[in-house]
Symmetry: C2
């Protein structure tokens, strides 16, 4: 008997028939003697519907009030799932985040979980009940509802698994695991049986949509074994088989395994590049450029400062395309102040990254990557590296070509 | 400057455009210097949609889980209304019932309010904010969400007005006040400028849909001046005019006013009659008949026990039509035990009532009523009276005729 957390996405909760499927799957695990906590998302489309209503009233909805509205989608889901379980004779009880309580800070629409009280949930589990908890939300110190932002239910599930010391957190989703890259771009893309937490974190933050990156951080910080698996399989498939399906995010670099140098290739189309040309190279220049951008709540991704020439330097960074115009506007406003010669930008760029803990112990990954791109005639606009990742910014029209070429060059189609 | 509670029904909250209208009306009252608390219902159709989802999963939805789901409709409404006010520059904040907190008992789907904490709301009002609170719901001693049942937002509004010692509770609805009877049945029906709390209570419990009867009880117990008025008027109409429109539920029998004998005529089509024939007339017979009915959660309305003849009596009562078959089944099951000769029923009956505090000091109301029905050839099946009300049960096909004849007989069309 183990304590297991299940998380189901909006598609799995999309209709009452699908909710019955979720209930059948959960019941199977409970019948096998496990203690089960379920964290369902809002029914698919519901969060968008609610945000849509809000935007009809305020172009920039008030964050506290938006959370008040958006949080209801998950509340409906937990009640419906509890009913679906009760209807098939399984003891179940639902809780909203504030009832548990899941305490967050007060950063409405992007709150962070601070603590989870396990008292109620433990008592219910001990009494044999299946406990269903709203994802995506908690309550701040003043009793206000705060949501964790898009994809926040993944984070809720992992955080609850951590707080309850669950044996595993199963993220049921509409893909059957983590792939070496997006199969829609590379047909030879292969599902990984395991991936390390660090690789998953890089993939998640690089735009792979399988898991929200904050949930991976949580899994890493609290060492919660987390598995991504399909919610589209027969809910009554053998439990043993289901328990080993998908991709497990692990916390050990398994020395028995043939460690691949590269685990996967991530990409992100949603990039725009801005270059501030000819700024005086003196202390504080980065701050004076990025300060106003941060103050405007614009998130910056890659950042590069060139070697200075004759006391002047160029400063380049990327933002999402949706914030490109805003960022350009902010910089035009401070251009004189920072003493820039010019500001230029390009909104038609994409980022491609190779990720793998294996590159720690293998030299030559970067040169292999650059050679491959060069052979395809693809120009590299920016480079950024971390210990287990190399990212390049390229013209968006070459993105698919780059991903396919790199997938082949690193032998990712092979087991 | 006064503290005023506004309550808006689901139709008034039915779209974002209508919510903007509500915001404009609320802003007008706030601009005039009043402190305003608003209690909006769920957007029209939303509660039915949520209950419909629940019923797809459980024929008889689990009450606690149903409340979890149903309560979200009002939560969306308060957030949207807060945004509509913020969008026009008015300070506003929304609260769910549990945040205030509005404490209830644990009778899910039909909970009763036990207490309301005024701390947060008072502080917000003192800071100049418009406070928006979910109707229909509260939180029990164990932190579970509990709803008050259909029409519960009226009760919430009046209870909040009582707890906050508001000067008046304005119930904005899609009718412009309380009428002498339903204008769809009697075209001469007239709107009343005032009605006493006791009359309103009788009308509400007799099936007049203007106000939920529990809200009238609350208004009476806590002497909350409550006004029913139209939400369909121009939100920018002069405040003075709006403040005096509709029907005020008053708490004094105003001796200066020409007191009408009868204030209104109520009717209810949703009645079914059951008669238990030839039961031994001994102590406990009523209990032995109605006990099993109450145990089956069937609500009984009118009850009559005939004068006994030769130690046997007949026992008649009415239930709603939806529960008629169930009640008949319950009684067939205990027929032998209670020693009844037979059980007969009629589901095609209606109740018509005349209501008025004036009948306390006027004899002859009953005889006038019975004569009028007799002149129309309408047979009376049952009679039930209270201090300010006389109800008769008649064949449903005569209902409209009876209402029209009584409206005329008591001169209700005249001011």
């Amino acid at each position: 008997m183990a304590l297991i957390v299940h998380k189901y996405g909006g598609t799995s909760m999309g209709s009452t028939d699908r909710i019955k499927n979720v209930a059948a799957r959960v019941a199977k695990w409970h019948d096998a003697g496990h203690q089960i906590i379920v964290v369902p998302s809002a029914m698919s489309g519901e969060t968008n519907r609610l945000i849509g209503l809000a935007k009809q009233l305020m172009e920039q909805p008030d964050p506290r009030e938006l959370d008040m509205i958006a949080a209801t989608g998950e509340q409906v889901s937990v009640g419906l799932l509890a009913m679906a379980l009760l209807a098939i004779g399984k003891p179940a009880v639902s809780y909203a985040g504030w009832q548990v309580a899941i305490k967050t800070d007060s950063a409405f629409t992007k709150a962070r979980i601070e603590s989870i009280d396990d008292t109620k949930v433990k008592a219910d589990l001990a009494a044999g009940k299946i406990v269903i908890i709203t994802g995506f939300q908690g309550v701040d110190a003043n009793g206000n509802i705060a949501t964790l932002g898009r994809g926040g239910s993944d984070t809720s599930a992992v955080a609850i698994a951590a707080a309850m010391k669950a044996e595993e957190c199963l993220i049921y989703t509409d893909v059957d695991g983590v792939y070496t890259t997006d199969p829609r771009v590379v047909s030879e893309a292969r599902r990984l049986n395991t991936i390390t937490f660090e690789e998953m974190l890089e993939l998640a933050s690089l735009g792979s949509k399988v898991l929200q990156s904050r949930s991976v951080e949580f899994a890493g910080n609290y060492r919660v074994p987390t598995r991504v698996l399909s919610s589209l399989t027969d809910p009554l498939m053998p439990l043993e088989e289901e328990a080993n399906s998908g991709t497990l995010i692990s916390f050990e670099e398994d020395t028995n395994m043939e460690q691949a140098v590269i685990s996967g290739i991530a990409f992100n189309r949603d990039e725009a590049k801005i270059t501030v040309l000819g700024v005086p190279d003196k202390p504080g220049v980065a701050y004076h450029i990025l300060g106003p951008v941060a103050d405007a709540n614009i998130e910056v991704d890659m950042i590069i400062q060139n070697q200075s020439v004759e006391g002047k330097t160029d400063f380049t960074f990327t933002v999402t395309r949706g914030e490109y115009a805003k960022a350009m506007g902010v910089l035009e406003g401070v251009k004189g102040e920072i003493g820039a010669a010019n500001i230029v930008g390009d909104a038609k760029v994409s980022k491609v990254s190779v990720v793998g803990v294996g590159m720690r112990s293998h030299v030559g990954v970067a040169s292999q990557m650059f050679r491959t791109l060069s052979e395809e005639g693809i120009n590299i606009l920016m480079i950024s590296t971390s210990e287990i990742k190399i990212s390049v910014l390229i013209d968006e029209k070459y993105m698919e070509l780059a991903v396919r070429a790199l997938h082949k060059a690193f032998d990712l189609e092979k087991e």
